[in-house]
């Protein structure tokens, strides 16, 4: 599975994440009412995770809600920092943005490609270079100069996927939407993901769709309560995970 001669792109050592959530956040009135005392609620999302992820791997994170899957994904994406432990990420990371996250409804499809591409770390020149490929892949030729708000949700999702896979990131992060669009487009997404793996890039994804996990993943990490419960072959983990989910719903 993990070949020791290769260098890990993601190396986590005892990664721990505690969120300190202030209860009053949002309104000044609430803050004044609580006497400006910060009532902090601690959420222990990750309780020491150790793992290494290598180039060419497609790693599925499985587990119940609140098991720390998305937290780990966000830590790899530098959305926030670990509370303790060591997390080393080698190479450029491209998160597959959720529908509309990096998009602006009033800008055209083309302008949104530029915005999204630059957010994902490309230069403007690089985005311009890849623009034709991105539009081609997303099958949006005749719509690309219309404002994004005129796009259907499927069109937006296709555009988002297309931009993310056309960045030259070494690590692709996907939260929930591994393949988007209709049946035919989903097949294109899976092909692209396979190409990504063959190119020696790493994919780290969170999915509750176990068919996707078995189809795409080369390895699965089963998280439970912020800890790694199992690490190994996706098929076996999916089987045991589903068996347990059905036993205690």
């Amino acid at each position: 599975m993990t070949s020791p001669e290769r260098v890990a792109v993601i190396e986590a050592r005892d990664v721990e994440k505690i969120f300190h959530l202030s209860v009053y956040q949002g309104s000044l009135k609430a803050a004044l009412l609580s006497g400006m005392k910060r009532q902090i609620r601690e959420v222990h999302a990750l309780k020491g995770l150790t793992t290494s992820i290598y180039p060419g791997e497609a790693v599925a994170l499985v587990g119940r809600n609140g098991s720390g899957k998305s937290t780990f994904l966000a830590l790899v994406g530098r959305i926030y920092l670990p509370t303790s432990g060591n997390l080393r990420v080698q190479g450029r990371v491209a998160p597959l943005l959720e529908l509309g996250a990096g998009f602006h409804p009033d800008l055209t499809g083309r302008e949104n490609i530029m915005l999204n591409g630059v957010i994902l770390g490309l230069t403007r020149a690089q985005v311009a270079e890849r623009e034709a490929d991105i539009i081609e892949f997303a099958e949006l030729r005749e719509f690309v100069d219309a404002p994004l708000r005129t796009f259907s949700s499927g069109m937006q999702a296709r555009l988002g996927f297309s931009v993310a896979v056309h960045t030259n990131a070494e690590i692709l992060l996907v939260d929930e939407a591994l393949a988007v669009g209709d049946e035919a487009f989903q097949e294109k997404c899976f092909d692209k993901i396979e190409a990504f793996k063959r190119a020696g890039k790493a994919i780290l994804f969170v999915s509750h769709d176990m068919t996707d996990v078995e189809r795409v993943a080369t390895r699965a990490l089963w998280l439970e309560g912020g800890r790694l419960r199992e690490d190994g072959e996706p098929a076996g983990i999916v089987e045991r995970y589903l068996a347990e989910a059905h036993r205690k719903p």
């Binding site: 959530l21 309104s27 994406g77 959305i79 943005l97 800008l107 957010i119």
Partner: protein, 296 residues
């Protein structure tokens, strides 16, 4: 809390300069997207305010009229409006981009900085139009009446000094306020109210020398000094004094002071204060930027 150094943060910002450019472009394009006049509003808005103020003040003024009074109002109105709108835009900027902040990494400072930069560009363009107008207006009067009254000063070339100070001051304040607004959305309305009050306290449609005029002796000197300790008041005054010749104050027989050692002293002090506020804003922001995405 993770504290990063100013130097590291500036390097990181430089690496993401293309994103800053895109965000500024998006702001500039988005602002006047569906308006007919577009950038014209950046000029029309101050112009209408200046004309109204000029009309009202001239109507109320007794005694000798201030020649070119509207030019002096204009000259302070442009930097004031920059400060005002940049702060109002920076304040909710992190909220507007919160979706993106929760999902991707980029230096968080970019968001308020882009809001401020877009306003800085408008301000610089408006200032260029103002200078062109102040060049053409006396020529027009000269052609009509044969008298040449040239209000622009050669020191106008030094305007980048107060512009730099004002930008640093705005960045510093904007960094603080954007964080506060993210945590308390009421801050937007508090900021709006405060700015409306601050406007009356700033020397936009009057001259700070009026303090010494109305309160002669040491009390006036002390009050004037306290007034000028405010970097914004000092920068607006320097802006006016560097660009235009001394003005006859409304309701007075005295001229305002030209840039002298005392005036340069106040400008230097304002620059130092602005740098300190910018550094404090950075430290405050840097200590909190990693926990921005940790809200529910």
């Amino acid at each position: 809390m993770v504290q990063t150094s100013l130097r590291d943060d500036l390097i990181e910002l430089w690496r993401h300069r293309e994103l800053l450019l895109i965000l500024v472009q998006r702001d500039l394009k988005g602002r006047y997207k569906n308006s007919v006049l577009g950038f014209g509003w950046s000029l029309l808005n101050p112009l209408m305010q200046v004309l109204t103020i000029t009309f009202v003040i001239k109507f109320m003024m007794v005694g000798k009229q201030t020649p070119n009074y509207h030019a002096y109002v204009f000259c302070a109105m442009l930097p004031w409006l920059f400060f005002n709108t940049a702060i109002m835009d920076a304040s909710p900027s992190l909220l507007f981009y919160y979706n993106l902040i929760r999902r991707t990494y980029f230096p968080r400072e970019l968001v308020p900085l882009a809001a401020i930069t877009a306003n800085l560009i408008h301000f610089l363009l408006a200032t260029a139009v103002f200078v062109a107008y102040m060049t053409l207006l006396p020529l027009f009067w000269w052609a009509c009446t044969g008298q040449l009254d040239w209000p622009l000063q050669p020191t106008i070339l030094l305007l980048p000094i107060p512009i730099l100070g004002l930008t640093l001051l705005t960045v510093g304040m904007g960094l603080f306020i954007s964080i506060w607004t993210l945590h308390f959305e009421d801050m937007r309305f508090i900021t709006d109210s405060l700015l409306k009050i601050i406007y009356w306290l700033m020397p936009v449609f009057y001259f700070p020398e009026i303090i010494r005029e109305r309160l002669p002796g040491w009390q006036g000197d002390v009050l004037y000094a306290i007034y000028m300790l405010n970097p914004l008041a000092s920068l607006l005054t320097a802006f006016r004094k560097l660009a235009l010749k001394p003005a006859l104050m409304p309701g007075s027989s005295h001229l305002t002071r030209a840039m002298g050692p005392e005036e340069w002293g106040y400008l230097a002090l304002a620059l130092i204060t602005s740098v300190l506020i910018a550094v404090a804003g950075h430290r405050y922001f840097a200590a909190r930027k990693w926990s921005l995405a940790e809200r529910e």
